[in-house]
């Protein structure tokens, strides 16, 4: 017995797999299995409380012609593209500002992360109140300055609602982008800037030809995650609009929840969730091959 224990402890493979066991069991049972089950459910007619039977592509052929699903897909793409561009631009700007010699630099860096730390569902409630159709503080200020005559219906009008939710999402996402890019900025050696300054480069040229190329690998990673989070967003929409008005802000995730959990059509919801997968894969592949191209251009083997 003792001998066996000793042999076990000295075998890399046995010990390695034993150490992997707890993580592997949890992930296989609650991640891999549901991932497969979800795909399978999409091909059945399961309802809550009733196991479904295989019905082939029926769910998908219905969803493709379903106007609400089409709208949700449009909303999700619009939401993701606009919010990601804004998060990238503003986040990069904030990172560059935070990288400068500011008074209270540490304080600013700590404070800026707050929107990202706090539960999204709870900060969304604050936005809900800020966007209130009768008591919105934004409307109050604009009225005071005489810029508008009536209070803005932030969440009641389709396009207003889309931009209001995008703004809340950008607000929440900027800190992550900014702090991650700040870490990237700090790895750039100052000598590049000195050399380019001696050569007479303007600040814009320094940014364009020194900062941006050196930052590209981190930008690719950060933006992939940002796009993934945004594309699969749920909480913000659920709290602010529940998909309304007239489904104008429904995202794929909120629609899947509404159909599967609130409506009981488990299979249909699972099919909607499965429809998101190709887009996620595309986003991951895009950044992965983008990264590889950069590495190849820089002659690195990273």
């Amino acid at each position: 017995m003792k001998l066996m224990l000793e042999r076990f402890q000295n075998s890399r493979n046995a010990l390695g797999w034993a150490f992997m066991l707890p993580a592997a069991v949890l992930l296989l049972l609650f991640l891999t299995y549901p991932l497969g089950l979800g795909t399978w459910l999409g091909f059945t007619d399961a309802k809550i409380g009733r196991p479904g039977e295989f019905i082939g592509l029926e769910n998908f052929s219905f969803l493709i012609t379903d106007s609400v699903t089409q709208l949700a897909l449009f909303n999700t793409l619009f939401y993701t593209i606009v919010a990601s561009i804004l998060k990238f631009g503003l986040g990069l700007w904030l990172a560059i500002l935070l990288n400068k010699n500011l008074p209270f630099k540490t304080f600013f860096r700590a404070v800026v992360l707050l929107p990202w730390i706090v539960p999204t569902a709870l900060s969304a409630i604050a936005f809900w109140w800020i966007y209130d159709s009768q008591f919105s503080v934004i409307s109050w200020v604009l009225m005071r300055f005489g810029l508008i005559d009536t209070y803005i219906d932030f969440l009641g009008d389709p396009w207003n609602a889309r931009f209001s939710t995008i703004f809340a999402n950008v607000w929440r996402g900027i800190p992550f982008v900014a702090i991650s890019l700040l870490a990237g900025l700090q790895t750039i050696s100052p000598s590049y800037y000195e050399a380019s300054a001696i050569d007479g480069a303007t600040p814009w040229q320094q940014f364009r030809h020194v900062t941006l190329p050196l930052l590209t690998p981190i930008i690719a990673v950060v933006m992939t995650f940002s796009v993934l989070f945004t594309f699969t967003d749920f909480q913000l929409i659920y709290v602010l609009t529940r998909g309304g008005p007239l489904n104008a802000t429904h995202l794929m995730a909120t629609l899947a929840f509404q159909r599967a959990i609130s409506g009981g059509a488990l299979a249909e919801g699972a099919a909607i969730a499965t429809l998101m997968v190709p887009f996620l894969l595309a986003a991951i592949m895009f950044s992965y091959f983008g990264l590889q191209r950069r590495a190849w251009q820089q002659g690195g083997d990273k």
Binding site: P119, Y193, I218, I261
Partner: protein
């Protein structure tokens, strides 16, 4: 890093004139900080305002004339908020501890034991990190029901590790990589076995990594929403984010005061934990991105 920061990329800032610095730095950063912090200020102000002031359009909304704690009193004594708070603490702490234990073992195995299949295992963990909860919650709901866990805190404790383990493992792998092999080899020569090496040598050296992984895991579970919304239906087992969103709204009447008080109290613990460990947090975050 501090030396680099001191005379860092901004070392030539002194060449800029003062008015220029205002336009290019202070004003933009002031706007950023104002916008990022305003919702929190608004939460505080709203939670302390009496209803009469909340629903009046005349006075200055940015200030409180007669501050009141009535909303907090209602929240703490006439709703189930304390129970939600307790559920959230329990679920977050237990899920974090389970995930950290599993992640330490997995990260050590992948990074240091290098068993056959360690590389694919590391890749699989990274892929698992990319699977969003929004595409998992429907089949997971079916599994949770089948296991008889529906409407229990255990359902959350067992499902949260699916997004905590990949993340913490990835973060810890980076930390373990930075520990020199020589230390382990010395211990092996002295007759320590792998378990002793992990507990007595690697873990003490990886404490900063453990702290940042722990804080991350705790915040992520505290903030989790979609699983908690789907797997729990009775009020007494809900977590704070779900409870505030689903239970404090009665029909069309929004009790803004208690809602904001609930949002504020639910945000404070994570902000508090974070403020203590902000250094670990930022370094952990940037470390995991640098990979």
């Amino acid at each position: 890093m501090s030396a680099q920061e001191k005379d860092g990329a901004s070392g030539m800032d002194y060449l800029q004139s003062m008015p220029r610095r205002w336009v290019t730095m202070y004003i933009p950063i002031g706007i950023f900080v104002f916008v990022l912090l305003f919702p929190f200020y608004w939460m505080v102000v709203t939670s302390l305002k009496p209803d009469a002031e909340l629903l009046s359009r005349t006075g200055n909304p940015f200030w409180i004339i007669k501050p009141t704690l009535a909303h907090f009193e209602k929240l703490l004594f006439r709703t189930e908020y304390p129970a939600w708070l307790w559920n959230t603490i329990l679920v977050s702490v237990v899920a974090t501890v389970i995930s950290l234990a599993a992640s330490v073992l997995a990260a050590y195995a992948i990074e240091r034991l290098r068993f056959q299949g360690a590389k694919p295992a590391g890749g699989a963990i990274f892929l698992a990190y990319l699977v969003p909860p929004s595409i998992l919650f429907i089949p997971l709901a079916a599994i949770v029901v089948k296991l008889g866990l529906f409407d229990s805190r255990l359902a959350l404790i067992l499902t949260y590790p699916t997004f905590l383990i990949p993340f913490s493992t990835w973060l810890l792998m980076g930390y373990f990589r930075s520990i020199p092999y020589e230390l382990e080899e010395c211990a092996l020569i002295d007759g320590a076995n792998r378990w002793q090496i992990l507990v007595k040598i690697v873990l003490p050296l990886a404490v900063p990594g453990l702290i940042s992984a722990g804080i991350f895991a705790f915040t992520l579970s505290w903030n989790e929403f979609i699983y908690a919304l789907t797997f729990v239906s009775s009020s007494e087992s809900k977590t704070v984010p779900v409870g505030v969103v689903t239970e404090l709204v009665e029909g069309d009447v929004y009790h803004w005061g208690p809602l904001m008080a609930g949002a504020l109290l639910g945000s404070l613990p994570v902000a508090f934990v974070y403020s203590f460990f902000v250094e670990y947090y930022v370094s952990g975050m940037t470390g995991s991105v640098k990979e």
